[in-house]
């Protein structure tokens, strides 16, 4: 059976690539601190020695659209082209090609359907920065096969927060039941408080630092039920109009498990949003 070597959750700030590679006058003042935190975060994945990455993200209206919007979708393809013209335009992201792990994708689809999730699938998925940003931060050599899992976090109607947690719990069981002796890291990216296209966007920090503090506490301590007791689809509008991406963090709390304390917790208060980084080691901290 496969081993879950690490569970990793973070934000996916698309400005990291440009900030970390810029030089001279172009390099923002917060770049060095940001790079240091990301490199420490990256080491948490490296130490887990994964063979395969299951990657949870959300398409930002690139390939998935309102004429046919899946709530949860698994990419099952031998390769995934990555990043889109408007991500190159806005964030300077490079074009990439990532190898797929079709056998694990097929297992997640078959067993996930039988577990009660009507998962959509795609045999030709071009992935976006919700998945390439964690590749850039955590595995820049991009050498491991992936299974992308997309969730709908911004085209209403959305699944309820509890559904995200339940999918996370199920995803963990599905990976652990994959009858292949490989080490799988499950990585997901979401948001803390975030505003896009509204009056509170691009402030000195995230639009709701108090929500961010509480959210980091929920995640770091594995307080799934405490989080579920306070978070609803309606309440997530208050910290910022794009804060529904927090449900991808909730999915990752489901993967990590109720009461599971994160082994690595770090944050960085940037303009626009707070960056947050979490790693759990279900098999114990690697030596």
């Amino acid at each position: 059976m496969a081993t879950v070597a690490a569970v990793v959750a973070s934000t996916h700030h698309p400005f990291y690539y440009r900030a970390s590679t810029s030089t001279g006058d172009e390099r923002p003042p917060f770049a060095d601190a940001w790079v240091a935190k990301v490199e420490a975060f990256r080491e948490t994945l490296t130490r887990a020695e994964p063979d395969v990455l299951v990657m949870v993200g959300s398409d930002h209206f690139h390939q998935l659209w309102l004429d046919n919007m899946p709530q949860f979708l698994v990419g099952k393809a031998p390769f995934f082209d990555a990043n889109w013209y408007n991500e190159e335009r806005e964030f300077g992201l490079p074009r990439m090609v990532l190898k797929g792990e079709e056998a694990l994708a097929a297992h997640i689809l078959r067993e996930g359907l039988d577990a009660g999730f009507d998962l959509a699938f795609s045999n030709e998925l071009r992935i976006d920065h919700s998945i390439t940003c964690p590749i850039i931060t955590l595995r820049p050599q991009a050498d491991l096969p992936i299974v992308p899992v997309y969730t709908n976090i911004f085209a209403p109607p959305l699944p309820q927060p509890r559904r995200f947690v339940e999918l996370g719990r199920t995803l963990r069981r599905l990976v652990e039941s994959w009858p292949v002796d490989k080490r799988v890291a499950i990585i997901g990216t979401g948001h803390l408080s975030l505003e896009l296209g509204g009056p509170r966007q691009f402030g000195e920090h995230g639009p709701d630092p108090e929500f961010d503090r509480r959210a980091v506490d929920w995640i770091a301590s594995g307080d799934v039920e405490g989080c579920l007791a306070e978070v609803t689809l309606d309440s997530l509008h208050a910290p910022g109009n794009a804060t529904h991406g927090f449900m991808d963090f909730m999915l990752m709390m489901g993967v990590a498990g109720d009461g599971a304390k994160a082994d690595h917790v770090d944050t960085l208060d940037l303009f626009h949003t707070m960056e947050a980084y979490f790693t759990w080691y279900p098999e114990g901290v690697p030596a």
Partner: protein, 119 residues
Amino acid sequence: MSRYLLDKFLYTVDRDPDLVERYREDPAGTVAWWERERAGQLLNCLVSERTTWLAFTDEERDALVRQDHVALFQLGAHPFLTLTLFIAMFERDHGPLEYQKAYGRAMQHLSLPYPDIAT
């Protein structure tokens, strides 16, 4: 109310570099052409299979022609789509983050609850 069509306009223009420039330079002409030629075109389908019934209201058409992001927000256009397209068209005329911050300031009179964006 044709919120889906508003979003479809923003989505299809944002993903096409030629259309981004065309909308920046000639908003009225681009909106008229798009509504006539593209509004009914089903994505990933032959033109002959086009939808026959989609149209903007006068208010929606006017907001797109005026490139008025505040009005589009109030009409329930998806704010991510409006923001990313308008950054593509107008950020180049401003300093770093200057356009994005001005975009937010122009909406300061708006407060929660924001308009419904469900389509």
